[in-house]
Amino acid sequence: MQRSNKDIWVGLFVLIGAAALLFLALQSANLLSLNFQKTYTVTARFDNIGGLKPQTAIKSAGVVVGRVESITFDDKNFQASVTLALQSRYSFPKDSSLKVLTSGLLGEQYVGIEAGAEEKNLQPGDTITATQSAVVLENLISQFLYSKAAEGSEQPATSNKK
């Protein structure tokens, strides 16, 4: 009698622990949204990806439509080659363009995909070349400083611009 009582209590303890783990996995880590949706991959070339990491969200009109799968460096044309896993239920025109965007002023970066106008849709394995790089603050500041300096020395401002 006493033995079986203890069994029940230990069982309850294990159950509570497992329930806590399940709660953490589902509610806080969002296990369900991870990878159970079918995806197709396309690659994109970026001049500069900024702080992009694998698993970064890809959003269209603010809705998450996929995740960045992997990022490699292509030493043929010195660009970043980013593999994107887009959800199969969404299709985009072939001439869609990509941007590395930031949510808010200090928020995390994500990839924005903007639909093009072409009739054909992106197929698995396609490459997107119409991309816009991440905004690098240092470049912006140095461009701004150069143009300011150019104005100051009374030179035509266009000569120093890249």
């Binding site: 303890f13 294990v14 509570i16 622990g17 806590a20 509610q27 806080s28």
Partner: protein, 259 residues
């Protein structure tokens, strides 16, 4: 007798080395005794004793840690207008650090001490020697079930702690401070990864389960068989286990979360 007498220094160093060696041998025997898990009723009794009885203190501490974290993160983040991120901060700090570490510290105080005192008194009362006389191996009969019981209980307790903490953070942030519930959970779910954060936290708590339970058993097993010796061993359990957990936590964090 001078402290710097070479013979004394040598004696002390040899003593420490011998302690370390005995400890390592005991650890190897306990870890190697996976078959001890087959004596299920013994292990179950220990899970009951170490786990069920620690559940209340762990859950309540988790809840209060969650409350406090909710308040502090909210006040800190409000300056930057980022108070919605409080959810992701709570979940990351709980899953990665506070959950496993505080659980291990509480477990050392709540369950480790009782293990040490129990084993130490068994030794002082010569019960362990009596077992050996009857050709029963006290390591396998007494220590091993307690060891595996602690190793099983720790990750579950840590998960309960994290869950209680997140609920506590939710209670403070959403109903009391008025953060939007969708932002709270949404940011948390975006920023927390199942394997990277939750998985590593569980690995940490398993490692701490091994550490704390083993240190408690070792201190009891090596205690001087006198009332004073048992009391000292109990104190040492808390001190050594806490230090070991904190140091190991630093190492594990450096290994797991380095980019």
């Amino acid at each position: 007798m001078s402290f710097w007498n070479p013979a004394d220094v040598g004696f002390a160093v040899r003593g420490k080395l011998a302690d370390l060696g005995r400890g390592a041998r005991l650890f190897a025997r306990l870890v190697g005794d996976v078959r001890g898990l087959r004596r299920f009723s013994l292990v179950r009794d220990q899970v009951h004793f170490l786990g069920n009885y620690s559940l209340a203190i762990i859950a309540v501490s988790g809840l209060f840690v969650g409350f406090v974290m909710g308040l502090q993160y909210f006040y800190g983040l409000q300056r930057y207008g980022a108070s919605e991120s409080v959810g992701v901060l709570i979940s990351l700090s709980l899953l990665r650090e506070f959950g496993p570490v505080i659980t291990a510290l509480l477990f050392a105080g709540r369950a480790g001490t009782s293990l040490t005192a129990e084993i130490g008194l068994m030794k002082a009362g010569e019960q362990l020697s009596a077992m050996e006389m009857m050709a029963v191996d006290p390591v396998r009969r007494v220590l091993s079930p307690r060891f595996w019981g602690g190793v099983i209980a720790m990750p579950l307790l840590s998960a309960v702690f994290c869950a209680a903490g997140i609920l506590g953070g939710w209670v403070v942030c959403v109903p009391l401070l008025g953060i939007d519930a969708g932002a709270f959970w949404g940011q948390m779910q975006n920023g927390t990864d199942v394997f990277r954060d939750l998985g590593n936290g569980v690995i940490k708590s398993i490692v701490f389960g091994f550490t704390v339970t083993f240190i408690a058993l070792l201190q009891g097993y090596e205690a001087q068989p006198t009332p004073e010796g048992v009391s000292r061993a109990t104190t040492r359990t808390v001190v050594v286990a806490s230090l070991a957990v904190l140091a190991l936590d630093f190492l594990l964090t450096a290994m797991m979360f380095s980019i």
